[in-house]
Amino acid sequence: MTEATDLAERAGDRDPRVGLRAVAALRRLLEQLEAVQVRSARRQGWSWQEIANELGVSRQAVHKKYGRH
């Protein structure tokens, strides 16, 4: 994943503010992308366990985060 390598370089580079801001922005984007994919999987009938397996987290974690939606 080249983004991650770039990110590591950038984050350990020169002005910390630039790197930190980029990391925070990436985290926000990641959260939104995860929500889109989880909703899509649920609409297609995926179980929480199946979604959790793909995300590499526990079923409880996914359900707690998205269960109400």
Binding site: T2, E3, D6, L7, R10, V18, R21, A22, A24, A25, L26, R28, L29, E31, Q32, L33, A35, V36, S40, H69
Partner: protein, 187 residues
């Protein structure tokens, strides 16, 4: 705290809930407070916005908020920071919308049945209201008006403040038109 809110400020808080509802959002965000503020007429905040030239450009602000919503609530500054990493946010938005529909990254449900449950205020929206209280207290105003909500929105980093600043509405400029420091400055 709510009992110290003026009629206009209460209308903004209630209006924000309606804005969230109409957008299909599950919670009330700071941008919903701003959208509700833009709807006000004859209030102190409305006066400030008009004085800053926003009178007939409110739709431009609404459009800018909509664009930010479509890119998952990222500010332009955040989008630029990601571009610095080689991540093209607009490219990602385009692909996600292609697969999941327009506005997919906004997290809102359009036409997919309304969320009828309780709509809590997000932490950032609560922070804005607390900031409004602080703005009023700082000026020793007894009541919290919608102008204090506007001041709080401009003071807090995020999409609403960024969009407002792009339209010439900053904490400084709002303070100036509201309280003037005596008289209008010539330059």
């Amino acid at each position: 705290m709510f009992e110290r809110f003026t009629e206009d400020a209460r209308a903004v808080v209630k209006g924000a809930v309606v804005q969230a509802e109409e957008a299909g959002a599950r919670s009330v965000a700071a941008e919903h407070l701003l959208l509700a503020l833009l709807d006000r007429e004859g209030s102190r905040a409305s006066f400030a916005l008009t004085a800053l030239g926003l009178g007939d450009r409110r739709d431009a602000v609404r459009a800018a908020l909509e664009r930010a919503r479509r890119r998952g609530g990222l500010t332009q500054a955040e989008t630029d920071a990601l571009a610095g990493l080689g991540i093209d946010v607009s490219g990602i938005v385009a692909r996600v919308e292609e697969a999941h529909g327009v506005g997919a990254l906004s997290g809102e449900r359009r036409g997919g049945g309304r969320w009828t449950g309780h709509r809590p205020f997000e932490r950032e929206a609560k922070d804005v209201l607390t900031g409004a209280l602080r703005a009023a207290t700082g000026r020793r105003d007894r009541r919290i008006g919608d102008e204090h909500i506007l001041l709080a929105l401009t003071a807090r980093p995020g999409v609403p403040a960024e969009v407002l600043a792009d339209h010439g509405v900053t904490h400084e400029s709002v303070t100036r038109v509201l309280h003037g420091g005596g008289e209008a400055r010539a330059s």
